[in-house]
Symmetry: C2
Subunit: 471 residues, 2 copies
């Protein structure tokens, strides 16, 4: 065994034994060389080795950290098995969602159940500057000329971001929307009718279930793995058996689990659907919040038939409250533009002008790099707190981006009761039944690490842990 | 006959003979006293008398003008007869609407067919100031706390405007939306299902028909008089015969005719529907653009059962492109708030902050007074041009506000052909079939007087007149 391998083994043993907690910082290269009398390059090699094994993770300019979920298996066995798809005759997302969302809006409640990251993570002052600059240049006639597709200059900026991913997406095909949520609703209306069957992930984003409920469509729930995303074997089986009209999938850093489809699985998803001419509504609002070295490509990158409608927004990455999203609609552009004209006509102009100016001059990529590091570090803190306070027999996902993770308690555990007890103590969590038309996942919760880690968070996690152990 | 009566008769004769054209300015009080050797009070009495008869109209600080449509009967006989309501099995608003709207967006086309007033009529610079001021004060957490009902301070400002009309409308019931169009769509979704029957005006706003088409509801077209609005006898008959789920009505300065329901008829409409517990979706986006001395009260003012959903916006009166509207939802507030949360989550914050600041400090009422005068004067110019250039056998509405009027040509006249010929000459008009699910009103057009009157307008009207005479 080489010197660096020995050192790697030592550190790995500390991690496995729990002496080094998930998310904790490892000794710097300088410390390591001093402690062990080795060269910096040996120390680096040891950490590279541990990184390869998935035990540690490097953060730019911050050093090495124990990987978040190493102490806890990331794969809940109950979800890994490709279960057959379930048809919900009628989608009925209950008052639960509204209760949880309502609680998350109150600042005196600890926002572990929130759907949003802390607004303090976003460059609101810099955006306000862009608002002034962008509106100063605005001409009166722009309010008319950009309807309904949205500001031409903003669409050009968005097209450039696709180009940076290697995707040629013409600006004049894009439709700017009132947030991604409107984009997703428009896509559904564009390709399906009341009564139609839509394949969705389970667990999945409740807003997709609510949209189906509102449009009188039916959810075909396809099991999704909390680490690897939608079960494509199950989807394939379901497509053979059911007349699926469209598929709605959050392909990267999914809400609620944080799961991502790998590049290969995205390709397979696109191919599976294309073989049957079924449109894919791709919800990619967290795609920019990746922790790895590379931006994940969306499924849209593999679309050869214009069947993928790629929906995203600036709400999760830059400007919450501005309500500016978009869709790259593939072959459904005309219908979506018409629907936009019929429903909200156009997105708000000042917000579009501000974002267009900010994307040109504001330093979006720099902001994103900072935001990703912050979220990754907050994930580490949350995972460490879970390890510290929660019962031992849980499993959790290990998202490579976004700001949600998924905790699965032992079978039979009642997270609705936990939710109520936690709320009584001023803590919000998002119980699993919010994320299924059949109200499954009653032993799971979604936790949000999009808020600065502080003593209040730590105390809330301790309280949650105690409540969970007593339930 | 008293002196002032003699004078009034003289002027009336000039008007009837065509010596004084609709919309033209009458001699000032000072000129009249000098010309006729009478006292100012006699001159005033003469004008009062003419005003009572509807022949002249006073404009604050501008003197007296010949009433717009006096030379042309305002009541098309074909529409005055209460025809039975017609059920459209399926609403299918064709590509026509998109063609007409598309043309109206091009600045080199004369916008007589546009749905919008000139953006130059709005205080965009002052609004940009409010955008800067309103956003400077904004706190990060506002982006969360105001979801989904919208900015509390903006809702307070809107509630104060209701109060000024004598209506007590609590701010915390209001829901801010992405323009009135979203409000109207939410209202429909809140009270009706696919397949349900909705009573609408005919002719009516195409967006209401498009919304029904999108939501798979059916339009029950109730004849509407181009001057007096929806035929309430026809509505009453229809309600007895059909299971109507809701009624959608533009109660003041209707699009496309400019018609308004009188206060008495608004009361009757509310009572008719309340007797059957049928909700009224009141579209009141032009209500602030009245030319008379008093703001017309909306039907909502007579609502005792929370059945009226009053929808309005700032798009027609202050801030086109900002996409901020609202609904006072009566008893349907909870459902509408939930639907808002499911569709676009919230309205754009910068626009809300700007409007809230503007309503407090920007001088909205002063702007509105100026805008009303401008529109009234532009209406007079349009009516004068119609009298000058159009065939004699037409009829037209005489709106007391807004910026649309309705021209009815002789039966059999083909306004779709006129539309095409006009477009080839760079002139847009809105042909009647846009405003009916059954594509009726093929001998009618809607004209927009929301744009500054200039030589290009005058020339376009001359061209239209020639085309119409040759058709």
């Amino acid at each position: 065994m080489k010197r660096y391998e020995e050192l790697a083994e030592l550190v790995a043993a500390d991690i496995r034994s729990g002496q080094r907690l998930p998310g904790s910082r490892l000794p710097s290269i300088r410390t390591l060389t001093a402690q062990h009398g080795i060269s910096p390059s040996t120390a680096f090699q040891a950490y590279y080795r541990l990184e390869e094994k998935g035990l540690v993770r490097a953060r730019q300019r911050s050093g090495y950290f124990v990987t978040s979920a190493v102490a806890l298996p990331a794969v809940p066995a109950t979800l890994a098995a490709p279960a057959p798809a379930k048809v919900a005759a009628k989608v009925d997302i209950s008052a639960l969602v509204f209760t949880v969302l309502g609680a998350a809006q109150q600042r005196d409640i600890v926002p572990l159940g929130s759907a949003l990251a802390s607004p303090e993570l976003f460059p609101l002052r810099r955006l306000a500057k862009s608002l002034t600059a962008g509106t100063r240049q605005a001409q009166p006639w722009e309010s008319v000329q950009h309807l309904p597709q949205g500001s031409a200059s903003l669409r050009q900026q968005i097209a450039q971001r696709y180009l940076a991913l290697g995707m040629a997406q013409p600006a004049d095909e894009l439709v700017v929307t009132s947030g991604a949520l409107e984009a997703l609703n428009l896509c559904l209306s564009a390709v399906a009718q009341p009564g139609d069957l839509i394949a969705v992930e389970s667990p999945g984003f409740y807003a997709s279930l609510q949209a189906l409920e509102r449009l009188k469509m039916k959810a075909l729930e396809i099991p999704a793995h909390p680490q690897h995303g939608m079960d494509l074997d199950a989807l394939e089986q379901a497509l053979k058996r059911h007349p699926v009209k469209a598929c709605w999938c959050m392909t990267s850093f999914q809400n609620p689990t944080g799961a991502s489809l790998s590049a290969e699985r995205k390709q397979r998803l696109v191919a599976l659907l294309a073989a049957r001419q079924i449109p894919l509504i791709e919800d990619d609002v967290y795609g920019e919040l990746y922790f790895g070295p590379q931006a994940p490509l969306p499924a849209k990158a593999y679309d050869q038939h214009g069947l993928v409608m790629h929906c995203s927004s600036f709400s999760k990455t830059l400007a919450p409250g501005y309500r500016v999203g978009w869709v790259a609609p593939g072959r459904f552009g005309e219908r979506i533009t018409q629907l936009k004209l019929m429903t909200t006509l156009g997105a708000s102009l000042p917000a579009q002008a501000a974002l267009s100016d900010y994307l040109q001059h504001g330093g979006y990529d720099k902001h994103l790099r900072r935001l990703r590091h912050t979220l990754e570090s907050q994930q580490a803190s949350l995972v460490a707190a879970i390890a510290r306070y929660f019962p031992a027999n849980i499993q959790l996902s290990q998202p490579g981006g976004g700001y949600f993770l998924w905790v699965e308690f032992a079978p039979g555990f009642d997270t609705l009761a936990l939710h109520q007890q936690a709320l009584a103590q001023g803590i919000s969590i998002a119980p699993g039944p919010m994320f299924s038309a059949r109200q499954s996942f009653s032993n799971c919760i979604r936790l949000n690490y999009g808020h600065p880690w502080d003593a209040r968070m730590e105390a809330a996690m301790a309280t949650l842990g105690t409540l969970a152990k007593n339930l």
